[in-house]
Amino acid sequence: MSEDDSVAGYSKTLVDSYFKLPKETFELFTRSVDTYTKLLDAWRNSSSELSGGKPKSQELFKIWDRDFIGIYDDLFEMLFRPMKLLAGLQWADNLTRMSDFTRLSWPFGAIGSIYTVFKPYENFIYLFPKETPQLLQKVVNSYTDFYEAWRDYYRGLYKAWNKATEKLSTQFAEKMVNAQKEDPQKPLDFGAFYDLWMETFSKTYIELLSLPNMVSVQTRLSSSTMDLIKHWRELSEAVMSVSPAFPFPTKSEMDETYKRLHLLKNEIEDVNQRTEEQPTRTEVDEVYKLLRVLKEKVDGINQKIEAQPKRSEMNEAQESLRVLKKEVNEINRKVEAQRARPRQAPKQE
C-alpha cells in the first residue's frame, strides 16, 4: 500500500483538493461518489429480486424507493442549501413569537402588571423605532410565503422522484425479462441499471422543471425569498439606526453612494467624450488633466466604499462626491463655453 492509499494519504488528498479545486467542483464530485455508492447498494439490495430473471416491478419499487431516499437528499443539497438555511434558521422559530407582538395578540391585561406583559417584548417597545412592528410583520409574512413556497417546491420535486422510481422499476423489470429472452446467460448488470436510472431521472426532472405549475411554484419561491431578504434587511437597518454605537452604513445608504458615484462617473465620461470632439488645444489638454485627476479621485472613493467602510468613512465619501460633482460641473461649464466659442483654425504646434 503506497502512502497515498493510506487513510492519512486520503485525508491529505481530500484537504488539498478542497483548497485547490473550485468549491462547487469539489462538492459535486465528492457528493457524486456518495450517490454512486448508494446506487450500487440499491442495486445489490435488489439482487435477490433480480436473480430469478423475472423481477416484479412492485418489489423493485419497494426496495429502490427505500434506498433512493439518501440519494435524493444528496443530489439537491447544493442547489437548495440557501433555501434550507433560510427555512431552518434559528431566528425563524422566534418569528412566530415576535409576530404575536406585531399582531397585538398578546394577553394584554390578563395577568400581573403591564410591565410583566411587556417584558418579553421590551426591546421592541422601549428601544426600537416605532416602525419596527410593521417591518417585523412584513418579515413574518414573507417568511410564511417563503416557507409555503419552499414546501410546495420540495413536494413537487419529491413527487417527481417517486414517479421516476416507479418508472425505473417498471422499465427495468421489462428490460430484464427481454434480456433473459434474448440471452439467458447474460443478465443485465449494474451498468445497464445505472444508464436507465440516469436516463429516467434526468428526463423526469428536465420535464418537471418546465411544467407551468412547477414554474409558477418556482416563481413564488424566488419572489418570497427576495421579499424575505429585503424585509429582513429593512428591519435590521431600522433596528441598527437607533444605535449610535453601530459604526457601519446601511445598505440603503451604501446604495445611495453607489448611485451618486455612478452618475458622477458618467458625467465625467460625458465631458471626456465631448472634449474629444474638440481640436487639440492647451485648454483641452488642461481639461483632460483635470478629468484624469477627477477619475483618480473617483476610483479612490470607489475602492474605499467597496471595502465595507464605517459610517464616518461613508459620510466622508459622500461629501467628497458632492465636492467632485461641483468640480465636474465647473469643467462641464468650461467645455460648454469652449464649444460655444466660434471655431478658429488649429494653431500650428
Partner: protein, 340 residues
C-alpha cells in the same frame, strides 16, 4: 464495480485533479485600455502582417471571455491570430456592489469607445464585430445604432428572439426581476449558475461527475474537464440595473426582435443592420437555440448574410474538438474574405 473500487477510483481521480495546474487565457495579450471594471485587450499577433480589418470580440457579461481561449489546441483566439486576424477583446470584468448602477447603455457606450480605440490604432473606419451569447446581442444593438462603424458582424450563439420555448426562457419570463435587484443589488453569479444547473439537475450535478468515477480518464481529459469547471463556476455578478433592464426588455417583452427596444432614447432598428452578417448557431444550444437566432436573418437588411450551424451545444462551439476543425476554419475564412 465494488464500493471500495469506486472509492479507490474517486481518490485516484481526485488526486490527479489536485495535481493539475489549471491555466486559462492561453494567448498572450496586452491591456490597452481600462475604464472601471471594463477593459480592452489586444492579442499579440503571431504573423508579421495582420489583415487590415481588425476584429473586436464582445463576450457576454454573465461569464468570462476566456472560454474562447480555454486551451492551447482548441483556442478560437489562437486560430484567429494564426490566420492573420488582428484580434481585440472586451473584458467586462467582475462587477462589485458599487457597480450596481451600470446599465446596458454603459455597455454599449464602452463598445463604442473600444471600437474607436481599435479603429484609431488600425487606421480603419470600420471593423469586424464578433459577439458571443449576450455579447452578440450587445453587438447587434451597437451595429444597428452605428452601422457605419461595423464592417462585418459575427454573431455566435446569440439570442435575439427570446420567445424560443426553452426552460431558461420560461424561468426568466416569470422571474420578478425587480424583487431580485431590490433584494440582492447585483444578480449574483451563483444565483444565475444555480439556474443553469437546475435546467438539468441530475445530469449536471451528478452524471457529469459520476462519469469520472465510472471510467478512468487520462490527465489530458481531466485537464480539459478542470478548465471547463473553472470557467463554469467563475461567474461574475450581473450589475443589478443591467439585469433588470435586459430580463424585462429582452426575455419578458421580447422587444428586440420586434424592433421595439430602445436604448438611451434611441430605437434599436434591426433593419439598419446592412453589413455582411454571419450567425453561428449550435443545434443543441439550450441557452440560445437555433430558433432564437435564425429569425434575425429575416429582419436585417444585409444582403450578404449566412447561418453556419454545427451539431454541438452552447459552449461546445468554442471548446469542442469537432468545431475546432469543422467550424472555425470556415468562420475564419468568412472573416478573412471580408477583412481586406
Amino acid at each position: 464495480m465494488e464500493e471500495y473500487k469506486v472509492v479507490e477510483q474517486f481518490m485516484k481521480t481526485l488526486k490527479t485533479l489536485r495535481d493539475i495546474d489549471v491555466d486559462v487565457w492561453q494567448t498572450p495579450f496586452d491591456e490597452i485600455h481600462k475604464e472601471g471594471i471594463f477593459r480592452l485587450i489586444h492579442y499579440q499577433p503571431t504573423v508579421e502582417k495582420t489583415l487590415p480589418t481588425p476584429v473586436l470580440i464582445v463576450y457576454a457579461y454573465i461569464n468570462r471571455p476566456y472560454i474562447l481561449d480555454l486551451q492551447p489546441d482548441r483556442s478560437v483566439i489562437r486560430k484567429m491570430i494564426d490566420n492573420g486576424l488582428d484580434v481585440y477583446m472586451i473584458d467586462w470584468g467582475y462587477p462589485k456592489k458599487a457597480d450596481k448602477y451600470i446599465t446596458l447603455e454603459d455597455y454599449i457606450r464602452y463598445i463604442d469607445k473600444a471600437l474607436g480605440i481599435v479603429a484609431k490604432r488600425s487606421n480603419k473606419d470600420k471593423i469586424t464585430l464578433h459577439g458571443y451569447c449576450l455579447g452578440g446581442t450587445l453587438s447587434l444593438i451597437f451595429a444597428s445604432l452605428n452601422p457605419e462603424k461595423v464592417k462585418n458582424l459575427v454573431l455566435q450563439a446569440t439570442p435575439v428572439d427570446f420567445d424560443a420555448p426553452r426552460t431558461i426562457n420560461l424561468w426568466a419570463k416569470s422571474l420578478d426581476v425587480d424583487k431580485v435587484v431590490d433584494a440582492m443589488g447585483n444578480a449574483p453569479g451563483e444565483f444565475l449558475n444555480n439556474a443553469f444547473l437546475l435546467a438539468d439537475p441530475i445530469g449536471l450535478t451528478f452524471g457529469k461527475y459520476a462519469n469520472l468515477i465510472r471510467e478512468s480518464k487520462d490527465e489530458k481529459f481531466l485537464k480539459t474537464f478542470l478548465r471547463m469547471e473553472k470557467w463554469i463556476f467563475d461567474s461574475p455578478d450581473v450589475p443589478g440595473e443591467t439585469f433588470r433592464q435586459y430580463i424585462k426588455a429582452w426575455y419578458q417583452k421580447n422587444l428586440l426582435i420586434k424592433n421595439q427596444f430602445t436604448l438611451a432614447g434611441k430605437k434599436v432598428d434591426l433593419h439598419r443592420i446592412n453589413m455582411p452578417t454571419l450567425a453561428i448557431v449550435a443545434d443543441y444550444d439550450h441557452i440560445a437555440p437555433p430558433e432564437a437566432t435564425k429569425p434575425l436573418l429575416d429582419v436585417i437588411s444585409s444582403t450578404d448574410k449566412i447561418i453556419m450551424n454545427f451539431t454541438t451545444g452552447h459552449i461546445g462551439v468554442s471548446v469542442g474538438s469537432k468545431p475546432a476543425y469543422g467550424l472555425w476554419p470556415k468562420v475564419i475564412d468568412w472573416m478573412k474574405a471580408r477583412s481586406q
